[in-house]
Subunit: 136 residues, 4 copies
Amino acid sequence: MSILLEQAQAAVRAAQQKALEMGVKMNIAVVDAGANLTAFARMDGAWLGSLDISIKKAKTARFFDMPTGELGKISQPGGPLFNIEHSNGGLITFPGGIPILDSNGRVIGAIGVSGSTVEDDHAVAQAGVAAVRDVR
Amino acid sequence: MSILLEQAQAAVRAAQQKALEMGVKMNIAVVDAGANLTAFARMDGAWLGSLDISIKKAKTARFFDMPTGELGKISQPGGPLFNIEHSNGGLITFPGGIPILDSNGRVIGAIGVSGSTVEDDHAVAQAGVAAVRDVR
Amino acid sequence: MSILLEQAQAAVRAAQQKALEMGVKMNIAVVDAGANLTAFARMDGAWLGSLDISIKKAKTARFFDMPTGELGKISQPGGPLFNIEHSNGGLITFPGGIPILDSNGRVIGAIGVSGSTVEDDHAVAQAGVAAVRDVR
Amino acid sequence: MSILLEQAQAAVRAAQQKALEMGVKMNIAVVDAGANLTAFARMDGAWLGSLDISIKKAKTARFFDMPTGELGKISQPGGPLFNIEHSNGGLITFPGGIPILDSNGRVIGAIGVSGSTVEDDHAVAQAGVAAVRDVR
């Protein structure tokens, strides 16, 4: 199973709403189970450089089925996966990417958010994840 | 001036609605005046290969401020811009990409649609353009 | 549903066998429903340049759910999809790539073969497709 | 001399068998003396992001004729080859890639494995190497 467009758009809307409440300008990307872009929104005035980062965060979270920040902990100098970021056309391994699971705990996609501090990015991504409800 | 997210999302919604009415599954991308992705939707079951094409159509339409199909007429063998598709990381020059103008006739972005015949792609893109109204 | 490794390897083995019978040296690639490489074999002495082509043929066949040669008919100069090959990091649109379907007619992957004439490539790809049986 | 397909496939089979015994899901890539992909298998359900990593590990091991983990020791901050990962379209320098030698000690190819911890990846790669016997 993969995330449906309806679910992906709900995630983007919720993330946008959260970002507005926090007063931050975000790029928000949702990918499906195949790590293909499914829904995307770039808020007015968000950093140009964050567009690509948001998509790479979403893909990274799905590539390894874990929050991007978790991967970043083990890709540090001296860590077991040092410089894994050079794979897959470029990974982003700091917080802001989170897998999206269905009610059976299976990964159906992921969300990636970029535009503020990594704490803000992660919080907005969480709001997106929380908005995904099983449709079937 | 550049397209606002609100306008870009209106364009995506209208294009999605049009595609549903036509019974086709589309990838729909909207870029801003800087040719940066602003809003995107991938309808459930749309061709995998059309994702990249929809984004490239939107970028191509903004890169040269003309519908992609117009550029394709002059990129043919023997034409003045033969194989211009090799530039900018890959252009798509068949129909489905259309610039979006404001009420003063200035290009503020573009839409790219891919997933069916080029005629269908162009029709869905037109529905997206028509939905953009000046917000200011 | 996506092709299983067991099925993909059966396809590669059958294609290899066919190539041996025909006296040709092939690169043989099988991708899954997400267009991800699943099984691959490069026969001793096969053209170096055919490696990438075999993978691109398999991906192209899955990207658009049709044999690569069919896509090539409409990507010719003056055709509706002229120069579509510039999308998705490079497509190959001459024969040798074929979608693989399950018993319900759903595309579960694709095979791409390169190393001889396009007729030979297509024949070897067909032998691969014929070897895939439903496992479930 | 370069690895033969027969040897490369024996390496993939042995690595697959080892992974099954260990209960891990791996991507397994074998490259020849020219660092060209020769045989590949992606086990059902293996991480999406590990596909590219397995191939990059195999190439890296052949590019420098040493296990990837050895290169990683000298690519750390302050080390002599800091950030060598930026070369050759992306290297992977943590364990899981191992050169394959013939009975005369000459490098004839390499194997790269990715899908679990780097210790598991390396163990599965070793099983693959051990399965390569001189055919001539």
